[in-house]
Symmetry: C2
Subunit: 415 residues, 2 copies
């Protein structure tokens, strides 16, 4: 709530509806009494809010899944999010891959589809066409009891403008400024979010492990490029204008190695897979890097680095230094925070860890000098998928099902 915003009485109900939906989403199956205990709201208020939500079809009483039986007193009746109130779609767009999935409002997968596309040769229209085809298929084949499609969330490898739901630039395709949001929004008549995949990863991590990834943490994706999803003060941090924190394009060496973004000396130009292969293949660091990297070759190089101390090991060490130097600068700006390393780079963490920690060490500086926490997740795709799903569902929870105005409730719109 900002200082220049005006508060109205129904804002109170809106906020408390959000609160109820959030606890239901987190716990799955909860009685009204449980909700009272979890939220701190009074029983009367919880009663009022839940009856409203039930009448709008957003949540439902779950008769079968009764919580506790064989106890004295009136039994609690379990409430749960109504899976059939809405469907959301997620689209992951990566190099040569489109992955679309449908989820119900409870977060259960309804259907999914993979599609191989030569993204590097694809024009924006080709990409959009592929995505629409997949979504059409999925929507047509879904069971009749599924709810109406109400949100699409895209996670893309590239720089995005969240406000305009546009992909500004991406390494996976030559076209720029692709307005996925506008197109999909018109075609399916729903709101669309277009976010950087790293932000989706961060979202997923925070959802699955809120203990560890709490208010402040960073998820760094080390794969085809280097990106970062950042959570600060419990909120995803999007740049001032565009999208993600472009960790990979922080400056490591002034006038250094050529980066795929066209500039010189970026962290990515030392630590990404293409940077490693450029180095181990004997090319100059100013040479244009490969657009695509064969994972098999990358693994081979990594294994060679593990077995003998040669050019390969040196390349990974350089990578560790680049990431470490970026982290040290990052930690100077925002204090040390837990880090998740995701993607192929996480699979070679053993090769970069020592150099990385060497450079970072001493960062903690004046504050509580805690140990730097780094966790690795070699496979990024499940995280991206889950992050997209949570983005969509939380959007519905907080933006669509939150307004108390029953006259414009989505279920009525869908009728």
């Amino acid at each position: 709530m900002f200082l220049d915003e005006i508060a109205r009485p129904d804002d109170v109900r809106r906020q408390n509806r959000r609160l109820v939906l959030a606890t239901l989403r987190r716990h799955g199956l909860l009685s009204r009494t449980d909700i009272v205990a979890q939220t701190g709201l009074s029983p009367s208020t919880v009663s009022a809010i839940t009856t409203a939500l039930i009448s709008e079809g957003i949540i439902a009483e779950s008769r079968d899944g009764d919580i506790i039986a064989n106890r004295r007193g009136r039994p609690q009746v379990a409430l749960t999010l109504n899976p059939a109130v809405a469907t959301v779609a997620t689209v992951e767009l990566a190099l040569n891959l489109v992955h679309a999935v449908l989820f119900d409002y409870k977060g259960q997968m309804i259907a999914e589809e993979f599609h191989r596309v030569s993204t590097l040769d694809a024009k924006s229209d080709d990409l959009i066409h592929s995505i629409c085809l997949m979504l059409d298929n999925l929507l047509e084949s879904r069971p009749s009891n599924a709810g109406p499609l109400m949100h699409i969330s895209m996670g893309v490898q590239g720089v995005t403008d969240a406000a305009r739901a546009t992909m500004l630039w991406s390494p996976i395709t030559p076209d720029i400024n692709i307005a996925f949001g506008e197109v999909l929004s018109k075609r399916y008549d729903v709101t669309v979010a277009v976010a950087n995949d790293c932000n989706m990863i961060a979202e997923a991590l925070r959802w699955t492990d809120p203990e560890h990834y709490a208010e402040d943490f960073a998820a760094i994706l080390l794969s085809h490029g280097i990106g970062m999803g950042l959570y600060l003060k419990g909120k995803p941090f999007l740049g001032a204008h565009s999208s993600a924190a472009e960790f990979g394009h922080m400056l490591h060496v002034p006038n250094g190695a050529l980066c795929r973004c066209g500039r010189h000396g970026c962290i990515e130009a030392y630590a990404s897979d293409y940077a490693i292969l450029r180095r181990t293949s004997g090319q100059d660091e100013k040479d244009q890097p490969a657009q695509d990297v064969d994972p098999a070759i990358y693994d081979e190089v990594a294994n060679r680095a593990r077995t003998r101390d040669g050019e390969e090991r040196a390349a990974f060490r350089k990578a560790g230094q680049a990431i470490g130097s970026g982290l040290r600068s990052l930690f100077s700006l925002i204090d040390p925070i837990p880090v998740a390393l995701v993607g192929s780079g996480a699979a070679v963490f053993d090769l970069i860890e020592d150099d990385l920690r060497d450079i970072v060490s001493g960062t903690s500086g004046w504050g509580a000098a805690q140990e730097l926490s780094i966790r690795c997740y070699p496979d990024e795709h499940p995280l991206i998928l889950q992050g997209c799903m949570m983005t969509s569902l939380l959007h519905l929870d907080t933006q669509v099902f939150a307004p108390g105005d029953a006259g414009d409730t989505p279920i009525k719109r869908a009728i």
Copy 2:
């Protein structure tokens, strides 16, 4: 307003009170009709809120300063913040200098006092003693119609922990972890804020030029050390745990010049005044830098750099590169934003600008490639002062005078 917070009906009033106080603080003299126009609240609500604020003594009708006369209809009656409802104190702590000032609730200076202290030799008790002495003097000598002291805001050169109102580390004194907040809070029975001086500068800039320094901007203080105050999404950005964004300690050159913080290669180790003098005095970049710098000598070096192309000019160019490299990394993380350069470094901007811009250029990258805006403010002290004042006053506006509960209103507490 967070997702796990519960909303109550009186929160609405609290928020709208804040809104009214904020518009009054910004515009100074406003009729109820003006407030209606500015805020968007209904006349009835504005009437209710203003009568409450008047009865609590927080604002007052200003009979003399009538806004518009000679017009048909009932004349508007001007409202204004009541200067006598509270007094706030600011303390600026810098190298060899303590500056304490008293302001009334309207932001008018009541009294001020400067004190020269050899901070480098001072123990924490000495510093606290000096500050208390000054505040005692000021409070005793203030006019009888002044309001009760209700907040103290300190701006210090060093790393602070805002939550604990503690100065963790500072270049101006050997002692660490000085709990100014706790001591002053007990002694004067008020809340105390301890912030990094750069954050105060940012606060002041946003207040004086909200057009230019809007949602996102950075204020970089180039003087005895290098610090940064950052505004993101319209809110001051404090690190995850400690205090300011330590721009000066981002990594510029791995294993590079020795920084005063004990590490190597920080931006500060190339761009601060002591770094320039270390270089021009023929010392090695790994030598321990001077603790104190004579401004006269610094100016002399700058002038030499302007007149001939020698070691001095090279030193400033190095400084420009260091700052530029930091900015480029910063802009990678949070997108390009307007920058204010403050302090002695701003006076030599002509010597560093070219190299700085060279390194930064290309940062804008994919987004709207706007021109990097840099403005210079050679004297940091007025900004720090104003920032401290605004911090205190806004704290009163939003935290103390906002709760609608009239039973515990501060003016009653003071009686």
